[in-house]
Amino acid sequence: MSQSTPAPASEQAAHSPSVTPAAAPAAVPAPDHGSATGGRVAASIRRTVATAGRVLAQLRHDPRTIGLLIVVPCVLLVLLKYVFDAQPRTFDHSGAPLLGIFPLIVMFLVTSVATLRERSSGTLERLLTMPLAKLDLLLGYALAFGALALLQAAVAFGLTLGPLGLHVSGPTWLLFVVALADGILGTALGLFVSAFAATEFQAVQFLPAFILPQFLLCGLFTPREDMQTVLRWLSDVMPLSYAVDAMNRLTAQSGVSGLVVRDLIVIAGVTVVALALGAVTLRRRTA
């Protein structure tokens, strides 16, 4: 204690014992403080899983959100089926791409709002003062919402391929994999975009700003090869285009083509890039 003013004796007496090193037993190093890389990876995985568990626990306390997440895409698919009641081929054409688009849109929206809440509630600031790597947090979110996307895709598939009678030539499991990859891509994009939203209103506005252009250019309304060159280029760099391409290929052809695998790689690649960018935009120090 480097006191420049003469401190009263009482204060010295009160504080000097606790300043001596012997009386500072509070230093309890955390158990995972070891230098081994293996230990660090294990700790990182533990934190990621804990974060995913926490996000799922929050959802469990909010059954209405889960209900909406599961039911809304199904209702829309039923609507689509009966809108095109007279042209069953149109439902085959647009139903499969929508199976990939819905998870992306829904997960994008839920994730960006959830992350924004984390920022505005101050819990993000608390977490960033704790030994939590930014990627642990993002992967935790991706894991939790990925699980939700899995559930949503399973229900939507059961409905469309069963009662609604969607006809698909390719393997169903691969269709399911593409839908799941789309859901996780939506989560990753939502995590990234939420860094640019200061309020929940803005976060919701990012849906039309960020997703609807992709929706228009993804090939759902017009085949991508028929578009003007500039639009075609734009369409080529938008991840949703690959989601729809993959779905279209799977509906039209039986067997697994190399192009479907390429589409999946693009989706996975964009997911990884979006997560990495999300980690970069997440700052421990803010103004």
């Binding site: 204690m1 480097s2 006191q3 420049s4 003013t5 003469p6 401190a7 009263p8 009482s10 204060e11 009160a14 504080h15 014992p17 606790s18 300043v19 090193p21 009386a23 500072a24 037993p25 509070a26 230093a27 309890v28 190093p29 955390a30 158990p31 995972d32 403080h33 700790a43 533990r46 934190r47 804990a50 974060t51 568990g53 926490r54 626990a57 929050q58 306390h61 909010d62 509630s121 101050g122 819990t123 600031e125 608390r126 977490l127 960033l128 003062t129 704790m130 030994p131 939590l132 421990r284 120090r285 803010t286 103004a287």
Partner: protein
């Protein structure tokens, strides 16, 4: 506790640094600019380990910004902040510093126990630590309650409990007693002193001046600068005031001319009140 000026004094400090453990907090010439406005104007302070230090001042004077700088989440324009011998925000400190923000930073849609179990997992502390901190803040029996159903004061205590996990060496608490009834407030201050007796260092902000008497040491802040850095008793003796609020006002009146010289806010280096203030 205030920085020395002069070579002899800093030599003494260097010698002390070699023998004693580094102070809990060591701030040098800290400047923070937020939105074009200078929020901290080059302040310096040293906080010894095992002490309870009150950070007092009117709303908006820079208390929270200083606390954010100490826990390492504040962008800093200039100056140095060292915590437990390491640069503020250092990876190694994330296990050793507990931080409570002004607004309770816990998940409203989780129960008390779910919140604390999550933070315990992030810190890597054993699960039974959760029950310990719940009892420390007096919330036992409420573990399964959703935070959104709690009162403001209860939420603040959940937030405090999260900061107590893992027994951090330094606790930075931003207005932890706001909205609490007098009984609870007394209990929490008893807890703070018990933690300090166990070796922890506490920095506690408040804009309620009457809490100042519960602190071993006081930092009075105004407009991004310290106007005092002393024990409550010494402060009262020096200003001749009967309570801290009056002392604060007296200091504002007396020290303003000195503060305007831009001298690093080392005001309490002058034990004598400034005579003949021109206001």
């Amino acid at each position: 506790m205030v920085n020395f000026s002069g070579a002899a004094a800093s030599a003494t400090a260097d010698a002390a640094a070699r023998t004693a453990p580094a102070p809990a907090v060591d701030v040098h010439d800290l400047r923070v600019v937020r939105g074009g406005r200078s929020v901290l104007k080059g302040i310096g302070v040293t906080i010894a380990r095992g002490t309870v230090t009150g950070l007092l001042g009117p709303s908006g004077c820079g208390k929270s910004t200083l606390m954010r700088a100490i826990v390492g989440v504040q962008k800093v324009a200039a100056g140095e902040v060292r915590v437990l011998g390491r640069p503020a925000g250092d990876k190694e400190l994330r296990h050793r510093v507990g931080y409570v923000t002004q607004a309770p930073s816990v998940y409203a849609d989780l129960s008390i126990a779910e919140n604390l179990r999550y933070f315990a997992a992030i810190l890597g502390v054993p699960r039974d630590d959760v029950q310990r901190v719940i009892e420390q803040v007096g919330l036992q029996g409420r573990e399964r309650d959703l935070v959104s159903r709690l009162s403001g004061g209860q939420r603040a205590r959940v937030s405090l409990a999260a900061a107590l996990l893992g027994t951090p060496e330094l606790l930075v608490l931003d207005e932890p007693t706001v909205g609490l009834d007098p009984v609870l407030r007394t209990e929490l201050w008893d807890l703070f002193h018990a933690l300090a007796a166990d070796g922890a260092t506490l920095l506690i902000s408040s804009h309620v001046m009457d809490e100042a008497t519960r602190c071993g040491h006081l930092l009075l802040m105004r407009d991004g600068e310290f106007i005092a850095d002393d024990t409550p008793e010494a402060l009262l003796a020096r200003t001749g005031a009967s309570e801290i609020e009056a002392a604060f006002l007296a200091l504002v009146a007396k020290q303003s001319p000195a503060a305007e010289q831009g001298s690093d806010a080392r005001l309490s280096d002058q034990p004598e009140p400034v005579k003949g203030a021109t206001r």
